[in-house]
């Protein structure tokens, strides 16, 4: 049987993704300009998303452990003959949950990759926006003989960049909502897997010589359920925060475009 995911390992992964460890600022006190606030919010949104994704970092491994557990339980059910019929049926349900977890995991990996790209693009665009703003300031101060066209083009470029920034921010916010939906999916698996573990434990009590074997399956399953529960719990707060930051960030970016 594959090793279980320890709580310590989960904590380490999540700690590694925490704002303090990633070096991403969660404070907007450093730069109070409109772009500074957008940058701070973007950093914060990315940090929250990162934290949430890391909460589910071991989902794939846990899903594989559940699959192996279901295979071993099916073998044990076979050895138990008629007394193992109900357990055999429960292993089929377990494999359906595993398939669902695999789907969630795949979806989360895609969301994570998209969010990384959107965040990188947003920060790159923000850097360029700062420079375009500085260029406009310099052009306006210097008032060169041929500045008019340069001012027009820089202004247009700035508008394009803000629009591109809004696209990225909206994309990140959409992905937070999708992540929330996937986390809900894991919650449902937690509930159903918990029921399966309980039912296997009940079957164990009537399984005679096979009681210990089925008990072990139920106990291991409960351990996996606890780990899944822990993932959902840890992701809950950053997902909620990210949703809120994302909404504010979109509004802030729109304000900047309007101004």
């Amino acid at each position: 049987m594959s090793t279980e995911l320890s709580a310590a390992e989960t904590d380490t992964a999540v700690e590694a993704a925490s704002p303090a460890k990633t070096g991403l600022s969660t404070s907007s006190t450093q730069d109070r300009t409109p772009l500074g606030r957008i940058q701070s919010d973007t950093n914060q949104l990315f940090s929250k998303c990162l934290y949430a994704f890391h909460s589910f970092g071991n989902l794939g491994e846990l899903s594989e452990n559940m699959r192996i557990l279901s295979l071993n339980a099916e073998l044990a059910a076979g050895r138990a003959g008629e007394k193992g019929n109900a357990v055999r049926a429960l292993t089929q349900y377990t494999r359906e949950l595993v398939a669902r977890l695999n789907g969630v995991n795949l979806s989360m990996l895609t969301l994570k990759s998209e969010t990384y790209n959107q965040s990188a693009s947003a920060l790159r665009t923000l850097h360029q926006l700062r420079l375009l703003n500085r260029a406009l300031d310099e052009l306006n101060v210097r008032k060169g003989e041929f500045a008019t066209v340069a001012v027009d083009k820089t202004t247009r470029s700035r508008a394009d960049k803000l629009s591109s920034l809004l696209d990225d921010v909206q994309g990140m916010t959409r992905n937070v909502n999708k992540l929330s939906a996937e986390a809900n999916g894991v919650s449902e698996v937690v509930s159903q897997a918990g029921s399966i573990a309980t039912n296997i434990a009940i079957e164990a009590s009537a399984a005679g010589d096979h009681e210990a074997e089925f008990d072990q399956v139920a106990t291991t399953m409960r351990g996996y359920v606890a780990q899944l529960h822990n993932m959902v719990d840890m992701a809950g707060s950053p997902i909620r925060d990210a949703g809120s930051v994302g909404t504010n960030l979109q509004e802030r970016t729109r304000q900047n475009i309007r101004s």
């Binding site: 210097r142 060169g144 820089t154």
Partner: protein, 255 residues
């Protein structure tokens, strides 16, 4: 940022930009050159992204931005052309970027959509109305895909990092070297460390020594004119380069 005309005749001009007094100290100081031929212009080594704002503002004192038809990068370093994506925003959309073929996919990390015209190892020419610029191979000086730009009419050679000097602020009151001997101290460390190939150094010097040069314009520090051109080439030909090898057990820099 200050600018100075270093060559001018009807329909043909060289402008130097640099020595921005507001530049943050942590950014290396760079010179940018704009060559005007008729109604067209080229920027040689347009600079790092952080100097784009003052450079754009200073440029519009001199020419309309739409006249910039070419951007040339002597090599791939960020202080040479990380401003590329911003220049493309303000120049005409068909602005051509000239760069060694060796670096086109690398520089795409600055700007994946840039219209880069790869320069073959042998070099080539860039034509502006009434002005023909020769691209002189300067490979391994210091970059492995590197070019100097020679204007035979103006008799000026743009050398990128060759001839570079790390000047203290107090010496940035002119674009030209006034006392070659006292200028050496600001060049020596750079050339000893950045240049590593004696063969490349000798080949480049042999190549440019055939040219009729009045002014050498490096990307950092001051320009050499008149007798200082020969003084610089002589000094460089004797310099012990490849000092980085000292940290690798000495090495044997015969190449």
């Amino acid at each position: 940022m200050i600018s100075q005309t270093i060559f001018q005749q009807p329909g043909h001009k060289w402008l130097a930009f640099g020595q921005d007094p507001n530049k943050p100290e942590k950014l290396i100081d760079t010179n940018q050159i704009v060559i005007i031929g008729g109604e067209s212009a080229i920027i040689l080594d347009p600079g790092g992204i952080e100097i784009f704002p003052p450079m754009l503002a200073a440029l519009t004192d001199e020419i309309p931005i739409e006249n910039v038809k070419h951007l040339f990068m002597s090599h791939q370093d960020p202080d040479i052309g990380s401003s590329l994506p911003l220049w493309r925003q303000v120049c005409n959309e068909n602005v051509e970027i000239h760069l060694s073929w060796l670096w086109t996919t690398f520089v795409a990390h600055f700007d994946a959509e840039a219209n880069i015209q790869p320069i073959p190892d042998e070099g080539g020419t860039i034509q502006l109305p009434g002005v023909s610029l020769q691209l002189i191979p300067a490979h391994y000086m210091h970059s492995s895909g590197n070019f100097s730009v020679y204007d035979p009419e103006a008799k000026i050679l743009w050398t990128g990092d060759i001839g570079a000097a790390m000047l203290p602020h107090r010496h940035r009151d002119s674009f030209f070297v006034e006392d070659f001997n006292s200028h050496i101290q600001y060049m020596e460390g750079f050339h000893r460390r950045w240049l590593g190939s004696i063969r490349a150094r000798d080949a480049w010097i042999a190549s440019v020594s055939k040219l009729d040069i009045d002014i050498i314009t490096p990307q950092h520090g001051l320009f050499f004119r008149g007798e200082d051109v020969k003084r610089f080439l002589d000094w460089l030909s004797r310099l012990n380069i490849g000092s980085g090898l000292d940290s690798m057990g000495g090495g044997n820099n015969n190449d």
